[in-house]
């Protein structure tokens, strides 16, 4: 275990009562329990209230563009697959603007951990709907209620090949720490959707709302059964929220399948110098 305080950056500017506080604390505790230091990991942040954690958390980091944290993280991992790479993004960032990247990162089983702050609303732009907002949710951008149905991030990730799919609740820090740790330890693409009340712009999906509708998966739950997992994830559509590791299997990661990386990371490899071998393509 390393020192949690080493990860302390600036004092957060999140609203009092925001779920981000719980997630921010859980991340730092998980990192320190895993023995990480700010120098031994890379965290890639999206844009949003969650992404603002870039200044509150000490680590090698990229504060990316909106929606683009996942491809940045994939690039870091390809270059140096020995570094743990964690994405911290919001629902708008990861399921809206960058939705395509999520699908393909899952397909590729890229060994990165995606932590999604799912508050079902855009906080930083002061209250417009997110892709996870419930149908009919009234917001500044949908004054008569959103027409679309919400995206189901867990089903989406699962069906696109994610090998670790989990859900946590920002109000339960201890449980969230455990889930984050297991997600990071998982070899392959892992996603943790964290239900997070926005106390300022979402008066529907409150702490109370979630406490009434969430439950933890029991010890006998079989996380390696795809069919059961699919069913579990679809409970979200009926406003039931399972917490825990919904699905986990071990499959070769993207970098494990790159023979170039058998011996070294890309950063460590020797420069290729046998150019004569390449010339033969051109004579």
């Amino acid at each position: 275990m390393s020192n949690i305080r080493d990860f302390d950056g600036y004092k957060p500017t999140w609203c009092p009562g925001c779920g981000d506080w719980g997630i921010g604390a859980a991340l730092k505790i998980a990192f320190s329990q895993l023995g990480f230091t700010p120098s031994s990991i890379v965290v890639v942040f999206g844009i949003g209230c969650s992404g603002n954690m870039n200044d509150f958390l000490n680590a090698y980091a990229v504060h990316s563009l909106h929606g683009r944290a996942i491809p940045n993280a994939i690039g870091v991992k390809l270059a140096n697959h020995k570094l743990p790479v964690i994405v911290v993004a919001g629902d708008g960032d990861c399921y809206g603007e960058g939705g395509n990247h999520l699908i393909h990162a899952a397909r590729g089983n890229h060994d990165i951990t995606v932590i999604v702050h799912d508050n079902r609303v855009y906080g930083l732009t002061t209250g417009q709907v997110a892709p996870t907002a419930q149908k009919g949710f009234k917001s500044k951008s949908t004054p008569v209620g959103i027409i679309e149905s919400p995206i189901n991030p867990l089903s989406l990730a699962l069906t696109q090949g994610a090998t670790f799919v989990a859900q946590a609740f920002a109000g339960d820090t201890l449980h969230t720490i455990e889930i984050i740790k297991k997600a990071i330890e998982h070899k392959g693409f892992s996603i943790v959707n964290i239900l997070q009340p926005c106390v300022t712009f979402n008066k529907v999906n409150t702490y109370d709302y979630y406490l009434k509708r969430l439950y933890k998966l029991t010890a006998d739950y079989q996380a390696d059964n795809y069919q059961i997992a699919i069913k579990k994830t679809t409970e979200m559509n009926e406003e039931k929220f399972p917490l825990g590791i919904i699905y986990q299997v071990r499959r070769p990661t993207y970098t494990e399948q790159l023979t170039q990386l058998n011996k070294n990371t890309l950063t460590e490899k020797e420069r290729y110098l046998d150019f004569n071998l390449l010339f033969s393509d051109f004579v």
Partner: protein, 578 residues
């Protein structure tokens, strides 16, 4: 002097490009200089494909406007290209398939009969045609057999033998039936070995030489062959090639890898580049090195995917919101593509900013024979310069307790630490930031960082900007052409033709396009001289850039924008008739 043009045409999807390239390679193996060009529609099957190769015993920079040998695998080939035939042109075709009118020298090769007798596939018509072509040009069949062997070796001796027979049939038929027409155009010359390189090949090769370790792309004509070439070299060289889901992911994957410490590049054409633009701005602010290969094709929108234009210059120069340093380079030919690409990786690292290499379909897909010795010398002289990358020891030696990723410096360049270095951390921040990389919205540090980034431009102009190259005597010239990028070859050839007519010209050719160092350029422009801007677009985009950056306005222009590259003769015609 040997200087002739051979052209082959047929239905798309039947190996025209492949057999055309084989012809170029044979000519190069025999010691000749080659320059080739493929015309093809944006279709896999059904359209018309044509490939032409100019062969010479002297250095050449472009195609020839006349065709000396035309191989017609279908009637359309003859109809489409007969206007360019010389009056002594040789036409190779099968009279069983169609007839050819006019006073040309006709070489009637029974393609159909040979195919039927040997039970060959339709693509093997090309092999017969290559055999026939070599025979009529007076070449040996050996280099063709050698290439067939290299191509099919993996499939076994039987397949090699089988394919060779088509070459032999074509070769022997012509030798036997047209002995009096055989030329001596392809006699082996004992000179230096050559590499037959397209612009895309040159970029790919130079990327490996420069130790690029990650290349990411989404297929887009005419940049796609960089993706496939580098992908095919992964095992050999250890480079990682990612074909990502879209161009936004492409550039952000590369930026992630670059941040983590490896040289990274992306390649695309106009539409894909448009998707990357926000991230180019990100690279500018977060100061992440990246090389972007932009192979232009005629736009706007989907435009004409398989044709050529220089329509994206101003877009590339201005790509990205906000103000940040960016370097735009545009090689004039395959040799410059090698040289400039290798330099581009150094510049990206030195200035920690995006470097764009502008190519176009004509340069990207045409092959030119390049002296192997030239490439080897480039490699010998190349020094990898990763700029101000520092390590832990360095930081400890200077007693720097706190590492400042965006340290304000005189030259605008801040020391760069590779993530993972123990004891330190920082962020590549897409928000405006303080020296220590934390986000800021304060006025003073904002101003400081803007000025720091801008100073990189001044440093570049002082240390690495290359003045345009001058071809022929600027003082004596009555006409001075001003051009950039792939037009170089057309202008150089036009200069030769004009000289024969007694017209003295010079060329000011720009490869380092942006930013431009005013004081290193203005002296080339003197009052009273006749300057002609030559560009492959309709706006004269470089002319606008020259006016904007240097204050020089060129009023006389040769602009071509029908999707085809500029031909030397078009420049000559303009000069003679104006």
């Amino acid at each position: 002097m040997i200087d002739f043009a051979w052209k082959i045409g047929g239905v798309a999807g039947f190996g025209i490009a492949t057999s055309g390239l084989v012809f170029s390679k044979i000519a190069a193996r025999l010691g000749y200089h080659t320059f080739d060009y493929l015309e093809y529609p944006s279709l896999i099957r059904g359209g018309h494909n044509a490939f032409e190769c100019r062969v010479s015993d002297e250095k050449i920079n472009h195609l020839s406007d006349k065709i000396d040998i035309l191989v017609c695998l279908n009637k359309e080939t003859f109809e489409k290209h007969q206007s360019r035939l010389t009056n002594k042109a040789l036409i190779i075709y099968d009279e069983e398939e169609f007839s050819v009118e006019g006073q040309f020298v006709k070489i009637k090769v029974p393609f159909k009969k040979i195919l039927n007798n040997l039970k060959g596939k339709l693509v093997m018509k090309n092999t017969i045609a290559l055999g026939a072509s070599l025979a009529i040009l007076g070449g040996d069949i050996f280099p063709l057999e050698e290439i067939i062997e290299e191509q099919f070796r993996k499939k076994g001796e039987e397949v090699v033998k089988f394919n060779k027979r088509f070459a032999q049939e074509g070769y022997i038929f012509v030798k036997k039936n047209y002995p009096e027409l055989i030329k001596n155009y392809l006699i082996q010359r004992g000179v230096n070995q050559k590499l037959v390189l397209s612009g895309n090949d040159s970029f790919s090769l130079a990327s490996i030489i420069a130790d690029c370790r990650l290349y990411c792309a989404y297929p887009m004509t005419p940049s796609s062959s960089v993706l496939t070439t580098l992908a095919s070299w992964q095992e050999k060289t250890g480079i990682i090639v990612r074909h990502a889901e879209d161009e936004i992911s492409v550039i952000n994957t590369a930026l992630g890898a670059s941040f983590a410490g490896v040289r990274a590049a992306v390649g695309t054409s106009g539409g894909g580049f448009a998707l990357m633009v926000e991230s180019i701005s990100f690279a500018g602010l977060a100061e992440i090195p990246i090389v972007i290969f932009l192979a232009q094709r005629p736009g706007p929108a989907t435009g004409m995917p398989t044709w050529s234009e220089q329509g994206d210059l101003l877009f590339a120069v201005h790509a990205g919101h906000g103000e940040f340093p960016k370097i735009v380079l545009s090689p004039g030919d395959q040799e410059e593509m090698l040289q400039i690409t290798m330099e581009a990786y150094n510049l990206a690292d030195i200035y920690q900013t995006p470097v764009i290499i502008l190519s176009d379909m004509f340069l990207s897909e045409s092959h030119k024979s390049v002296e192997r010795e030239f490439v080897e010398e480039l490699i010998r002289n190349y020094q990898i310069d990763r700029g101000k990358i520092i390590n832990k020891d360095h930081l400890e030696n200077v007693g720097n307790q706190k590492y400042l990723r965006y340290q304000v410096t005189k030259d605008g360049i801040s020391p760069r630490l590779i993530p993972g270095t123990p004891g330190y951390f920082y962020q590549a921040n897409s928000y405006e930031h303080l020296e220590d990389s934390h986000t800021t919205e304060e006025a003073a540090p904002r101003k400081e960082q803007v000025e720091k980034r801008n100073r990189k431009i001044t440093t570049y102009l002082k240390n690495h900007f290359h003045s345009p190259k001058i071809y022929q005597d600027l003082q004596k010239a009555e006409i001075v052409f001003v051009s950039w990028g792939s037009n170089k070859g057309a202008v150089l050839e036009a200069q030769k033709l004009l000289l024969k007519k007694g017209i003295l010209t010079a060329l000011i050719h720009f490869s380092y396009l942006y930013p431009l160092a005013k004081e290193k350029i203005t002296s080339f422009f003197v009052p009273g001289k006749r300057y002609i801007l030559v560009e492959n677009n309709s706006w004269g985009q470089f002319g606008k850039l020259l006016l904007q950056e240097v204050g020089i306005e060129l009023n006389e222009k040769i602009l071509k924008y029908n999707g085809r590259p500029i031909w030397p003769e078009e420049i000559v015609d303009y000069v003679v008739n104006s």
